[in-house]
């Protein structure tokens, strides 16, 4: 059974962590998507702090010798999940960078092929919808 003092510290700590995460999301420093794992962890810590027997029962359930090692085990598990999550995100980012790099290359080539604004300016002014388009780009030309 954990002492009352320890319980108060644990509850205060996990509530602070939870509030900190919510605040980060509120300020858009942390995306909602990334907050999921962190919020889940903070809630789990809070649950363990409030419900003192849970850790003991959990340790017993997984057959661990001590409650401390049970805590470390789940802590490590969380870190592994987080790293895996980041690997997935990095792979995703890499995939998107490749697509962008390719599009830039393709656009660059098209840019050379398509007549530039300057070339369009010397061409005949066209009438569209009855309104005169002539001189539309004139301010640009004067520069």
């Amino acid at each position: 059974m954990i002492s009352t003092n320890l319980r108060i510290v644990a509850i205060a700590g996990s509530v602070t962590l939870l509030m900190f995460i919510v605040e980060l999301v509120r300020r858009r420093r942390l995306k909602e998507e990334y907050s999921v794992l962190w919020v889940a962890t903070a809630l789990a810590l809070l649950l363990l702090a409030v419900w003192g027997e849970l850790l003991r029962d959990l340790a017993h359930f997984i057959g661990a010798d001590s409650q401390a090692s049970t805590l470390y085990f789940f802590g490590l598990l969380f870190v592994v999940f987080l790293l895996l999550h980041f690997s997935v995100r990095v792979s995703n980012l890499e995939r998107r960078v490749i697509v962008l790099v390719q599009e830039i290359a393709l656009l660059g080539e098209r840019d050379r092929r398509i007549p530039q604004v300057e070339d369009l300016l010397v061409s005949e002014p066209r009438e569209r919808n009855g309104t005169q388009n002539a001189g539309r780009y004139a301010p640009l030309l004067r520069q």
Partner: protein, 243 residues
């Protein structure tokens, strides 16, 4: 509909790429040549443009597969019926492109691979470790696809536009396209055929420098394995590819 596009992915091939472009023009006067300059730090792009090729420049060095896929995207969007690829270092001999084009038309195949090992002239002897790797993947690819594949690492290829369209999608492995691509094609229902070609010895460092070593073997085995696990590759419609 345009006819034939030859893609040349090039990374720092100044002084070599121009010759390859001339060879391709010599072998196939009707073909358009596209050089995908993979973020070279030398004058590859200028060389290629001077030799009469269309040049796409990737803003950062992104690797052989990414450069190739950029070429496929260009070719598919421009509506080429047939797309080929040849290395920029002069290892592949452009005169074989005509034979590959004939084979594509004759054999009702979707992709033609130029193989160094077909036809037993034995002109090409890879280093021992590499020979084992190529042999392993040739064997694996052949037994999975039920086609005789002797040179799965060959980047000397010619394909119909529908194959290039598949290569434009996410299923294309942009890190090391290799034996896994041939298996992917087989799974999609496309036919792959090899014809014998001669190659010149590679002039040292090329874009394929990753083609040896334990990581390559690991990556290829994993890639083949997951390609086999994936079912029903969906070919994306042409409309989705247009910008």
């Amino acid at each position: 509909m345009k006819d034939l596009l030859i893609i040349i992915p090039a990374y720092n091939e100044q002084g070599r790429v121009g010759r390859v472009i001339e060879d391709v023009h010599g072998a196939l006067p009707g073909a358009d040549v596209l050089v995908v300059n993979d973020g070279s730090s030398d004058g590859t792009a200028e060389d290629a443009a001077q030799a009469g090729a269309t040049v796409l420049s990737l803003p950062v060095n992104s690797g052989y597969g990414v450069a190739l896929q950029t070429g496929y995207k260009f070719g598919v969007r421009a509506g080429y019926a047939t797309i080929g690829q040849i290395d920029a270092d002069g290892q592949h001999r452009a005169e074989y492109l005509t034979a590959m084009l004939e084979a594509l038309e004759q054999h009702d195949a979707d992709l033609i691979v130029g193989s160094r090992f077909l036809g037993e002239d034995g002109h090409y002897k890879p280093p021992f470790a590499r020979a084992i790797g190529i042999g392993l993947f040739a064997h694996l690819t052949s037994s999975i696809t039920h086609e005789h594949i002797s040179d799965p690492t060959s980047g000397f290829q010619l394909m119909r536009s529908r194959v290039a369209r598949l290569f434009c999608s996410e299923v294309y492995p942009t890190d090391y396209p290799d034996a896994d691509v041939l298996i992917l094609l087989h799974r999609t229902g496309y036919r792959v055929r090899e014809i014998p070609v001669q190659m010149r010895p590679s002039p040292g460092k090329s874009m394929h420098s990753g083609h040896t070593g334990p990581y390559y073997v690991y990556k290829m085995l994993l890639s083949i394995f997951v390609t086999l696990l994936r079912r029903g590759v969906k070919v994306i419609p042409q409309a989705k590819l247009a910008p």
